[in-house]
């Protein structure tokens, strides 16, 4: 906790600096691109999770190149990894009665879930703190690229280990990451490689390795999948899924013909073969460009980046250095077209507001908005883009922002742990436990709770949910009794010299929005402020004199701003 407090102090010290918007001629990079607030903010949006109030100023103190180098290595030393203490899975033989075993199993699953919740919180804290924003951004990207879900993997240790694998390789080498992922316990479990044996091959991992991880559909045949599956036989997880190993007697050591080549392929030589395919760098480069730019790259440009990635021997840092210095990355469509994911939106709101928020609030909130960390909806990951936005999630995003600002009650918005357990007491004949919410939802509604389940005994039996306990960090803990947004928008506006309605709207809009405010939105916000002021009988320029009412008005204005269509970009 200490490091976070210190960081806050540092930030508070520079709070007074408003965002400089290219008041003096900005230095030009070698690329000819002007290094200004708009472009710096764009980099913060895409290479991180948005800019805190003072951070753009900070970025503009040095050159564009210098800032990109900092992004590639991180701004400060990394946080220590979370200390993880995983429970041991109970064994039936250690218990005299079935009932005792069942109870131990319940405790075990609850404890596993608690650890996953803590870890999710730690991860979100990394995103908010912004020590190495690009790294955390990429951990999230790889999580949606090489997907595994706790619903299938069911062991926290494996999910945490996979997340740490992504962190280690986030800005490393793509080839190494693919080699690592075909022996990653969570992936082996998620894509059934424990069932991929010499005598009864399972094609799941081989199929997704080609279709989603390296080549894309249409660049291999069903026969290639069958043969590839044979190459992957023998890699399996330990019983506790904490590790993986190669079991030679389950490996098919015979010759395989994959993509026209015949050899005694094993997992590594199969991966090497895939990486040699010309489609592979194109596939990976396209995924990266679409994620970071939000628009489909032109064919020529894609080809350029694919070649570059291959020529850099799959190293990712040169790729991002090139991208972030590319003037095309700052083109109008790239600046304006990308819709942020729920995690990006909520972490972005938190950062732009300069708040500290219990990270589980963001975990729960993003889950409700369709992005449950550790539980992507399918092996394809999250669809992204416009698929994030439905009527329910768009209204819901605004409600979540209101919650962060403190004008909407947490308990009116957050529903439950996105991975709430339904207990599967007793027999687990097939080892299949209800490790999560049984509904495979990925789109959730914005807010509102039914009559409380907890209070009625009868209903409890019908919808049994494990009582997560206060240590769980579930909904019961995060009511407004525990959360006060520590913001002072009145002071913030005054420091920036924004007192008149137009100044306030422009200043707050600029601080809270990832992209510039549109004219239609600006007019509506001005009208809101005018009505609010006339309700308080204050002249334009005098809002700040209204004390708590001024702060209330500004917070409601901030809520409005973060609910705008513009706020969903970034």
């Amino acid at each position: 906790m200490l490091h976070r407090t210190l960081l806050l102090v540092v930030l508070a010290g520079s709070f007074g600096l408003s965002r400089a918007r290219a008041q003096e001629p900005a230095p030009r990079a070698a690329s000819g691109l002007e290094w200004n607030a708009l472009h710096a903010e764009h980099l913060f949006n895409r290479a991180g999770f948005g800019a805190r109030p003072n951070e753009i100023e900070f970025a503009l103190r040095g050159s564009h190149e210098h800032f990109v180098e900092q992004l590639l290595v991180g701004f400060t030393a990394p946080a220590d990894p979370l200390f993880i203490d995983l429970p041991e899975m109970p064994q039936r033989r250690d218990f005299e009665s079935r009932d005792e075993f069942d109870r131990a199993n319940d405790r075990f699953r609850r404890e596993e879930r608690r650890v996953l919740t803590s870890f999710a919180g730690w991860w979100i804290d990394q995103m908010i703190e912004g020590k190495h924003p690009l790294q955390e951004r990429l951990v999230l990207f790889w999580h949606g690229y090489f997907t595994s879900s706790t619903r299938d993997v069911k062991r926290t240790g494996a999910m945490v280990a996979q997340n740490e694998l992504f962190r280690r390789h986030a800005l490393g080498n793509f080839a190494e990451l693919v080699h690592a992922i075909v022996r990653d316990p969570a992936m082996l479990e998620y894509l059934d490689n424990n069932q991929n044996r010499k005598d009864s091959p399972n094609e799941n991992l081989a199929r997704e390795l080609m279709e989603l991880f390296t080549l894309g559909e249409g660049h291999y045949t069903e026969q290639d999948i069958k043969e590839g599956a044979r190459a992957l036989t023998g890699w399996r997880t330990t019983d506790d899924k904490a590790g993986s190993y190669f079991q030679a007697r389950q490996h098919d050591a015979g010759e395989k013909t994959i993509l026209g080549k015949t050899a005694r392929f094993d997992a590594d030589s199969f991966v090497d073969l895939l990486l040699e395919q010309p489609e592979c760098p194109r596939w990976v480069a396209r995924k990266l460009l679409v994620h970071f730019e939000g628009v489909e790259p032109e064919p020529k440009r894609l080809e350029e980046y694919a070649k570059f990635l291959r020529a850099s021997n799959w190293e990712l840092k040169p790729f991002f250095r090139k991208l972030f210095l590319d003037p095309r990355f700052y083109a109008k469509d790239v600046l304006a077209e990308r819709i942020s994911s729920p995690v990006e939106y909520l972490v972005g709101c938190t950062r732009r507001l300069g708040l500290t928020v219990p990270p589980q609030v963001i975990w729960l909130g993003a889950g409700q908005l369709g992005q449950r960390l550790f539980d992507p909806p399918s092996v394809k990951g999250w669809d992204g883009g416009e698929a994030w936005i439905t009527t329910s999630t768009l209204l819901g995003r605004g409600n979540m922002a209101g919650m962060l600002i403190g004008v909407v009650k947490i308990e009116d918005v957050l529903r439950e742990d996105p991975l709430e357990i339904e207990p599967d007491e007793g027999a687990m004949m097939d080892g299949d436990t209800m490790g999560g919410d049984v509904m495979g939802g990925d789109v959730m509604s914005g807010g509102g709770a039914k009559p409380d389940d907890k209070e009625k005994g009868g209903k409890r039996a019908a919808k049994r949910k494990v009582d997560l306990g206060p240590e769980m960090g579930g909904l019961q803990r995060f009511t407004n009794e525990f959360y006060f947004p520590r913001i002072n928008l009145t002071a913030r506006m005054q420091r920036a010299g924004a007192t008149r309605d137009t100044q306030i709207v422009d200043q707050l809009g600029s601080e809270l929005l990832p992209v510039p405010l549109s004219e239609a939105s600006r007019a509506a916000l001005l009208e809101f402020l005018r009505i609010e002021r006339s309700g308080l009988a204050l002249e334009d320029g005098k809002l700040h004199t209204a004390g708590v009412k001024a702060e209330d008005t500004l917070r409601r204005l901030a809520h409005l701003i973060l609910s705008l269509p513009e706020a969903q970009l970034g």
């Binding site: 069942d102 619903r151 304006a336 819709i339 909806p377 399918s378 092996v379 394809k380 416009e386 698929a387 936005i389 439905t390 009527t391 329910s392 768009l394 209204l395 209101g402 004008v407 909407v408 009116d412 918005v413 439950e416 339904e422 599967d424 007793g426 027999a427 004949m429 097939d430 299949d432 209800m434 049984v438 509904m439 495979g440 939802g441 990925d442 789109v443 959730m444 509604s445 914005g446 807010g447 509102g448 039914k450 389940d453 009625k456 209903k459 039996a461 019908a462 919808k463 049994r464 939105s521 007019a523 916000l525 809101f528 609010e532 409601r556 809520h559 409005l560 609910s563 513009e566 970009l569």
Partner: protein, 413 residues
Amino acid sequence: MTNLSIDRRALLAGASVLSAGWLTARASAWTTPALFSQDSGRTLILLQLAGGNDGLDTVVPYGDDAYRRARPSLGLKKSEVLALDDYRGFHGSLKQLRRHFDAGRVAVIEGAGYPEPIRSHFRSFDVWHTADHRGRSAGDGWVGRLCDVAFKDTQNPNLVVHVGGSVPYSLHSASHPPASFVNPRAYRWAGGEAETDAYEKAGGMEPEEREKKPKKREGESSLDFLRRVLADGQQSSEQVRRAVANYRTPVDYPANDALAQSLADVAALVSGGIGTRVISVELGGFDTHTDERNRHDQLMRTLDAALGPFLDDLARSEAGRKAMVVLFSEFGRRVAENGARGTDHGVAGPMFVLGHDLKGGLYGKHPSLDKLDDGDLVHTTDFRSVYATAIERCFGVKHDKVLGAKYPLLQFA
């Protein structure tokens, strides 16, 4: 106009009493938005029993010796079932369902399942949700695919609604995403009144503009896309809340029961004329590995207490009488009870189809309790036959276009 405004303000505030000053201030700015669709087609309601409902404890083969042998402590006696014939009867708590059955409003499809059954909750639900054994890798949910076929040109955001928490994968669709809410009264942007006025102007469009709003077009900018969805959301939110707020029913739903309250809201949506054609609801808790007798009895009571009045309520409107309710679970349970007075994950089970405009009765074939597959029932009807029948009946499209294959239709509709 004034009444409408009162109504609207009440909706915004989520309360019924408001000061008159507000009304006069902004009443004129408000006109009734046209409903997205007045389409009075049939509504399909999907009720998911999550956790694996014990079919043998729902439609009980009490007349089968094999049943009593397999369920020495759990088995229901003749006196504990509502006998339909010498062989089978409803669980004793399903009294209202029995009443509706006798009136021809309940079709029971026995032995519903699919080949190569999966005993994992999630993966088996994926099969039910996609109507495809490959599960999610097959693509969108089956309702999403249905909408692509039956509602290709419909952009009504109320078309598909989920009342509950997480949306089931069956509704997963990029082209027809569902509106979803736990409580329709909370399906709204939670700003105050002044902010809401500004929100409508800033984000979306003026009411008149909404009616002319362009459909999704190629090359639409993200900002225009967001504005369009926001306008849809504001309108959908208001229509849904208005449908629920205006709904009056003399039917008594049990108070303090989440399922019954959800179904009361569903009844309001069905007859609300807001273009909703598919509604999904869930009841969880069916994973009865232990102490099944108490837990399953309670579930049956909950189900009966909610479905009984719901069917009575549906009888009151034309839209309600045309609606079809389909109950399903991801799997049944094993035939033999386990050592903990419960049952483990099994395979086939009965499906129920309810409604006022169908031929009730028994369909399919009760699976044999003697010829088991490794202790499990063998399914006798593919569940996709039920989907197929519902698709053709409710939406008038060829089911194989949605399901990707032909399945025999059942005679309940």
